[in-house]
Amino acid sequence: MTAEEWGIILLSLKVSGVAVLATMPLAFGLAWLLARGRFPGKLLLDALVHLPLVLPPVVTGWLLLIAFGNNGPMGRWLTDWFGVSLMFRWTGAALAAAVMALPLMVRAMRLSIEAVDRRLEGAARTLGASPARVFLSITLPLATPGLLAGAVLGFARSIGEFGATITFVSNIPGETRTIPLAIYGALQIPGNETVVTRLAIIAVLLSLGALLASELLARRAGYGKGGHVL
């Protein structure tokens, strides 16, 4: 494998890793709200979270462009306050990957929170635990395998992200050219079959490994009661 191909793989791992790590708190918060919350508009929030799953990715990318582009409200705010622009940057690719991974992460995390037996939480309360301690000592440890499964699943989805990324931050070598974008680029030029094959094999292996890891974690969740990813 060439240095350029290694660079593409490392960029993919960086973009996906940052996307998932940065999204974890938000995904957990949303999963918690959807699993435990009772509030008006819950159905709408549920639908909004799942929207990137069914929307054409090019539309998601376009919406990101409108919001986070240099003239978009969020883009201008980021530039004014932090001097940061996401346009044509790997951070923008991470944002696109995060938006596309969010629904899958929230789904898996929500299942793992719902699988926690709330009667155990009641038992802990009678034993003298405050609500915060119940969360930290009972709910969170029991949900953790499922939360990790959600993160790994989100990582797998991020590795494969294409449409929203190329729409939002284009296909720039060393900056936004992740594995799928590099494969697409290589396919535009005849004679690149070996590069395409190598990158495709890497993509299959990364995705398969992440899915298997995610499923194994989900099986541990809830100690026998956990939901399935696959």
Binding site: A123, R125, L127, A129
Partner: protein, 212 residues
Amino acid sequence: MSFEIAVERQLGDAHVALTLSSAAGLTALFGPSGAGKSSVLNMVAGLLRPDRGRIIVAGETLFDSAARIDLLPDRRRAGYVFQDGRLFPHRRVRDNLLYGWRLAAPDHRWMTLDEAVDFLGIAHLLARWPRTLSGGEAQRVAIGRALLSGPRFLLMDEPLASLDMARRDDIMQVIERVRDELALPILYVSHDRAEVDRLASTIVTLAPDSIG
């Protein structure tokens, strides 16, 4: 008076209402399933809020709707033993036993881990995971966990229901020793007449939709 309870609570179509006052020893709430016995225990533990009423245990008011008193479950010092044990599956027996003990104020503790382990004969179980325990073993650990949290009284919800006959007698002897040697007020729920006759000093019958 050990337990002075007058509570009402509407749960869907069912109306749970109960008035009782009992002296020391084991007070049994007796009645068929669906009569709201477990709901009464949950109200005493603070896990279910009565619509109105008053709960006083051993002189301390835990709930009084008129006086707007409603102690949080973690302040009531109830030792709750559930029908299914309800042990924490991600903690070994030893850490289950110590869960409430570690949270209790030092001057509220009245039993050490060693004493509880001797009392219940569970020394050989300490390193085990809850899912490897038999029903009777799990129930002993659950009783130990409740005792170690430094409770002022015990709530027992059909602690024998999921056990076979041999184990039932075994756990019944443990409960008799808790009642006699530790002299804790116990509120005990069962639908088994023989069990209640053997263990209880006061029997209160709760019928479905009963108006206490």
